[in-house]
């Protein structure tokens, strides 16, 4: 396979998601400065970078959740830069926000069933309980009464039902106990086997290296470097410098 990096790709080896020269603004502040990257179907790719580098904004811009954006976001070949966020979701993208976005006024079950199915082929509720058995016991609880780890499971679980094939996960391991982080890691492995494509935002690059195939380093709203996961050991010093650890 040719390395498609930043070149315009031919339809034959079309990436699932191709972001090119994406800019985004919140009011007067210009957050994304022409970020470009792509993901092939079935890949797990991370955006690494320091706080405030624009990783979360990138995910929100892809989902149409920023007030103003410019550039190109193509999903399965179709341009989405002008598309409204609910229509973006309907094409088969799903977003799991950093703050998890569990609704306090909804029960666990209502949270789980909230996102409508957008395509056939989503996981059944039983399959989600198999991944996250804790949820099954707490269906009637208020969504925000769950522990942090359970809330994260709920936040991931509810987007697996919809049939979306591209998952945008924003720091799914943040603030969680190591045993929960491992469970989330196993879940991502499972999803990879099931053929999901995942764009992962992470600060914890040790976790990222256990699940992802490629990594983009983001700074000041653009990609400044990228690595194959197998090349990580050789570049550890460089990456630590990028991330400021």
């Amino acid at each position: 396979m040719p390395e498609a990096a930043f070149a315009r790709t031919e339809p034959a080896d079309q990436p699932m998601l191709a972001v090119e020269d994406l800019h985004a603004w919140y009011g007067e502040s210009h957050i994304l400065h022409g970020i470009s990257f792509h993901i092939a179907p079935g890949e797990v790719v991370t955006l690494l970078g320091r706080n405030g580098a624009g990783k979360t904004t990138t995910l929100k811009a892809i989902m149409g959740m920023v007030p103003r954006r410019r550039g190109s976001i193509r999903f399965e070949g179709e341009e989405m830069i002008q598309t409204r966020s609910d229509r973006i979701a309907r094409r088969g993208l799903a977003f799991c926000p950093e703050e998890r976005g569990i609704f306090a006024s909804l029960s666990v079950e209502e949270n789980l069933l909230l996102p409508p199915a957008v395509r056939p082929g989503g996981l059944s509720v039983e399959a989600i309980f198999e991944l996250f058995p804790n949820l099954k016991e707490r269906l009637r609880s208020q969504g925000t009464k769950l522990s942090g780890g359970e809330q994260q499971m709920l936040a991931i679980g509810r987007i697996l039902r919809t049939g979306a094939r591209l998952l945008l996960l924003d720091e799914p391991t943040e603030g969680l106990a190591p045993v929960i982080v491992q469970q989330i890691g196993r879940t991502i492995e499972r999803l990879k086997i099931e053929g999901f494509t995942i764009l992962l935002v992470e600060q914890n690059f040790r976790f990222a290296s256990t699940v992802a195939e490629r990594h983009y380093v983001v700074e000041h709203g653009r990609v400044i470097d990228q690595f194959q996961n197998r090349d990580l050991p050789a570049n550890i010093a460089k990456i630590q410098e990028y991330l400021g650890v």
């Binding site: 989902m63 149409g64 959740m65 409204r84 966020s85 609910d86 973006i88 979701a89 309907r90 799903a94 977003f95 926000p97 976005g101 609704f103 306090a104 006024s105 909804l106 209502e110 069933l113 909230l114 996102p115 409508p116 957008v118 987007i159 919809t162």
Partner: protein
């Protein structure tokens, strides 16, 4: 027993019933306001004017199309609700990112315009609207005579309020509405058409006001200012109950109607102010309202 404290039971239960009737209107109108405020973040000052429009549409339907009370009870909320949907699409939509104050000013202006138009054509005097034959007359309950129409108003409004509560708190549709109320952007990013939901929610709240207007038409007269008189009390009810709580609006609405009615029995001089006195006390003790959640 009632004679002992100098109040005949007829008067007591009579006022209790009037209190329940007023409470029914307070409950339905403040419920609509609560649903609208929850999702749209708009304090709908036009609610009273739209309630008045509901009554007038019923009157128009009878005068010009020969359609009586029962069709009006269905058609008027649909017509006024559609009018509300147009208001939302063309005007309110532009205000969501601004402070509450702008929505309040816009809807206050709309209320004045709607009332002005009706006053221009109909003056301040009311148009009579008769009780449908099926609901005329009264039943003897032993201790008092219950006019059937008044009993009907209390029953049907209670039913409508509880059905609304059930839909919002216990169904999938309601869960989507609650989610959008809590976090509009994320709910939309799950693939839910939130803009359409907002339009329909406003239309529903407004339709509920129009429904109340049709129910009110045979009791009060159909007059251009019938909503203006009511809206001030409704806002007091909403403040007492706490903005945005569904069951809170229903309970507070009925309870305050009863409190007002009983005040007429025991201390008539205070009956016009008692709701505002309660409001002042509640604001002092629990500023978010009896059922309201305090915002951080």
């Amino acid at each position: 027993m009632f004679e002992l404290i100098g109040i005949p039971p007829q008067a007591f239960f009579g006022q209790l019933l009037i209190g329940l009737i007023n409470g029914a209107f307070y409950a339905m109108l403040s419920l609509g306001l609560a649903v609208i405020f929850g999702l749209l973040n708009i304090i709908n000052f036009a609610h009273g004017a739209l309630y008045m429009m509901g009554a007038f549409v019923a009157w128009f339907l009878l005068q010009y199309f020969g359609l009586g009370y029962w069709p009006a009870l269905i058609l008027s909320p649909i017509i006024v609700g559609a009018f509300g949907a147009v208001i939302e699409r063309t005007l309110l939509r532009r205000l969501y990112h601004l402070d509450h104050l702008y929505g309040l000013l816009l809807t206050f202006g709309l209320a004045l315009m709607i009332q002005g138009v009706f006053r221009y054509y109909f003056g301040s005097s009311g148009q009579p609207y008769t009780i449908p034959p099926l609901l005329q007359g009264g039943v003897h309950l032993g201790f008092m005579v219950l006019p059937i129409y008044r009993g009907w108003v209390v029953a049907v409004s209670l039913l409508v309020c509880l059905a609304t509560w059930f839909i919002i708190e216990r169904t999938r549709l309601g869960a989507t509405l609650r989610a959008a109320t809590e976090n509009r952007a994320l709910t939309q990013a799950f693939g839910i058409n939130v803009p359409r939901m907002i339009t329909l929610t406003y239309a529903f709240g407004v339709g509920l006001a129009a429904f109340s207007g049709v129910l009110a038409a045979p009791i009060f007269q159909v007059s251009p200012l019938m909503g203006a008189d009511l809206i001030i009390i409704i806002f007091a009810v909403v403040v007492i109950g706490g903005m945005g709580s569904i069951m809170g609006s229903i309970l507070t609405g009925f309870a305050l109607g009863v409190v007002e009615g009983l005040t007429k029995v025991f201390y008539p001089e205070a009956s016009n102010t008692v709701i505002f006195v309660v409001m002042a006390i509640v604001l002092l003790i629990k500023p978010a309202g009896l059922f309201g959640r305090a915002h951080a």
